[in-house]
């Protein structure tokens, strides 16, 4: 199979979505199609990952048009691991959806939309062409718009409008930057751009375009001055949708930012990466302070996405080998942990009937296992040894120490502590505190709120993701080695460029 493998992460979700759409009359059939679709997709993602890991970068020229002219699909180590993670998240959330999504949403096409979303995400990870990336972004966006608005609740429509408008703006800026870059270099292939960008005489204009890209991807990744849409919208849809958004969508923004600012825009790192470092620090601080002020589980978690994005950008901004290693490790760790926290939040609220910390309580008394499942990702997010977050944070801190960037080091450490504060806030209010006296459900009714089958659908993905967190945490060496190889590939660039242009 070799290179042909690369079309499957795009083709399979499209087919699954189409077949699920054809079975629109039977939501039961849609569930099974969706589940099998994600399993096959996960198998192929794992296959691609092992091929890339053992054989090196995979490249396929679509329609057999030679490299700088046609559309190229590329999977280097970073792209392959992102596709693998998206496969795992797709599977976990597809299982969770079977217990979470209500029948009305299923009837109106939840499963097809979910798979088209995965198609857009995988396409963005695999494409080697800038305009094609724009198209995949749009595929991802339109399905996320529909998923966010699905159900027509007033709060959902409100959140969706804010999300849609800012993302349309961001796409327009992205396209604008592509247009100017094309005018300067005459190419859209990313490997070709990496070579041609050095030949452009007007370096000022190149930097200006790089800032346009930074603004566009910054909106998608929710970095400091551009993040307001995220806490305004991510808490409105059902938790399965929130979870896949929280896990994957902002990380797509981070991924393309890493791609662009290690492959193409490295001519003036003193300027662009200093801006990125400022953005990283401010993103961390504002995100974590925003979370401290909230008393709604999903809002707290949404703000934490923002603060964690800061860490990933920090590794990129330091622009040292260890910094990039830290970023890659952090993305992998973060997607798993953050999706898991959202899923657990969903289960907790289903059990006590609210997301409001004032109205929650008693979970540890009635469901001690849920407490344990919560503590794993929560402590991992805060960076407790020996969980995955500790190694990710440790690598980033080490990178900051290495180039004596003390300010960002201090910021990152303090933000880690404040993250722990938010996690203990959820723990204390939802798990430890007794149920409020005026709670509508009496306790005997409340322990039987979810049927056994639904509870299995809800808890299975949580256990799966928590296990992954533990595996990464207790055995970080292979993951660290992998991140090292991925960072090496990103920084040296030649392997990527040679694989695409001169196979």
């Amino acid at each position: 199979m070799g290179n042909t493998l690369l079309i499957f992460p795009i083709l399979l979700p499209m087919l699954t979505g189409a077949i699920a759409l054809m079975a629109y009359k039977s939501t039961g059939a849609q569930k099974i199609i969706s589940l099998f679709g994600t399993i096959i997709q996960l198998i192929f993602a794992g296959w691609i990952f092992s091929e890339v890991y053992s054989e090196g970068i995979l490249v396929i020229q679509m329609g057999n048009w030679m490299a700088p002219f046609g559309i190229t699909l590329v999977a280097d180590l970073l792209g392959a691991v992102m596709v693998l993670i998206s496969g795992i998240m797709g599977f976990a959330v597809a299982v969770y959806s079977m217990g979470d999504i209500d029948e009305k949403r299923e009837k109106f096409g939840y499963y097809p939309l979910f798979h088209i979303l995965l198609m857009g995400i995988n396409g963005t990870f695999l494409t080697g062409d800038l305009f094609n990336m724009y198209v995949w972004f749009e595929v991802m966006l339109i399905s996320s718009f529909a998923l966010l608005a699905l159900g027509n609740g007033r709060d959902q429509l409100d959140g969706a409008i804010k999300y849609v408008i800012i993302n349309l703006f961001s796409s327009a800026v992205f396209l604008l930057a592509i247009g100017i870059l094309y005018g300067m270099t005459g190419t859209l292939n990313m490997a070709d751009l990496a070579e041609k960008i050095a030949l452009v005489e007007n370096t000022g204009l190149v930097t200006a375009v790089s800032i346009l890209f930074m603004v566009s991807f910054g909106i998608k990744a929710a970095v400091f001055p551009l993040f307001f849409w995220l806490p305004a919208s991510y808490h409105t849809p059902p938790i399965a949708i929130s979870a896949i958004f929280a896990g994957m969508l902002t990380k797509v923004g981070v991924y393309v930012m890493i791609r662009m600012f290690t492959l193409i825009f490295i001519g003036d790192t003193g300027y662009t990466h200093t801006i990125l470092l400022w953005i990283a620090g401010l993103t961390m601080v504002t995100g974590v302070l925003g979370a401290a002020a909230q008393m709604e589980v999903r809002k707290i978690l949404s703000f934490h996405i923002i603060s964690q994005i800061g860490y990933m950008i920090m590794g990129l901004a330091l622009y040292t080998p260890i910094g990039i290693i830290g970023s890659v490790f952090y993305i992998v760790h973060h997607i798993i942990v953050k999706t898991n926290l959202f899923l657990i939040g969903g289960v907790a609220s289903k059990l006590v009937g609210s997301y409001d910390l004032y109205k929650m309580g008693g979970l540890y008394r009635y469901y001690p296992w849920l407490g344990v499942l919560f503590l794993i990702p929560a402590f991992s997010l805060a960076g407790f040894p020996p969980l995955s977050g500790f190694w990710a944070k440790f690598t980033l801190m080490y990178a900051a120490v290495e180039i004596e960037s003390w300010t960002i080091l201090a910021v990152a450490l303090v933000v880690g502590l404040l993250t722990l504060f938010s996690m203990t806030k959820i723990w204390a209010n939802a798990f430890w505190a007794p149920l409020p006296d005026n709670h509508e459900a009496n306790t005997s009714d409340f322990t039987k709120r979810i049927s056994k089958v639904h509870l299995f659908y809800l808890v299975f993905p949580i256990v799966l993701l928590a296990t992954l967190t533990l595996v990464i945490g207790l055995n970080p060496q292979p993951f660290y080695d992998f991140s090292m190889d991925a960072a090496q590939q990103l920084l040296s660039r030649t392997e990527y460029i040679e694989a695409v242009l001169r196979p």
């Binding site: 749009e138 409100d158 849609v164 094309y182 709604e296």
Partner: protein, 129 residues
């Protein structure tokens, strides 16, 4: 020609920014529409405005003759127009649905997602004009 188009693109961008900063949701969406058209024109201009033959290759040749027009920007714009149109239609419907639900088009009064669910009913009096 480049100068005229540059000025036109600038005017379009300025008006779209003006509309984007308005309160009314309809104007904001129109601002996004104008912005995407400004970007399309910009791509067209960045592809160099040259008069050339249609980009067709003779059946027995492997390389196009000299002096053909650049087809790529037009292909890009065509794609972008289709995507932009779809998104514009979607956002119009979205805003219409929102208006039906809340009788409100003022972006400053969009607080439905901010209030806890059980209190949403109380705030329904203040929307609309």
């Amino acid at each position: 020609m480049e100068v005229i188009l540059s000025v036109l693109i600038g005017v379009l961008f300025a008006s779209s920014m003006y509309l984007l900063m308005k309160k009314s949701l309809v104007r904001i969406v129109l601002g996004v529409l104008i912005m995407s058209n400004a970007v399309n024109l910009l791509i067209f201009t960045m592809g160099r405005l040259t008069r050339g033959a249609p980009p067709l290759i003779e059946s027995n040749a492997t390389v196009a003759a000299q002096g053909i027009a650049n087809p790529l920007p037009q292909a890009l714009i065509l794609t972008a127009i289709v995507i932009g149109f779809g998104l514009f239609a979607f956002s119009l419907v979205l805003i219409y649905r929102y208006f039906k639900e809340s009788k409100n088009l003022d972006s400053d009064k969009m607080l439905d997602a901010e209030i806890p669910y059980d209190k949403v009913a109380i705030s329904s009096e203040k929307g609309g004009e």
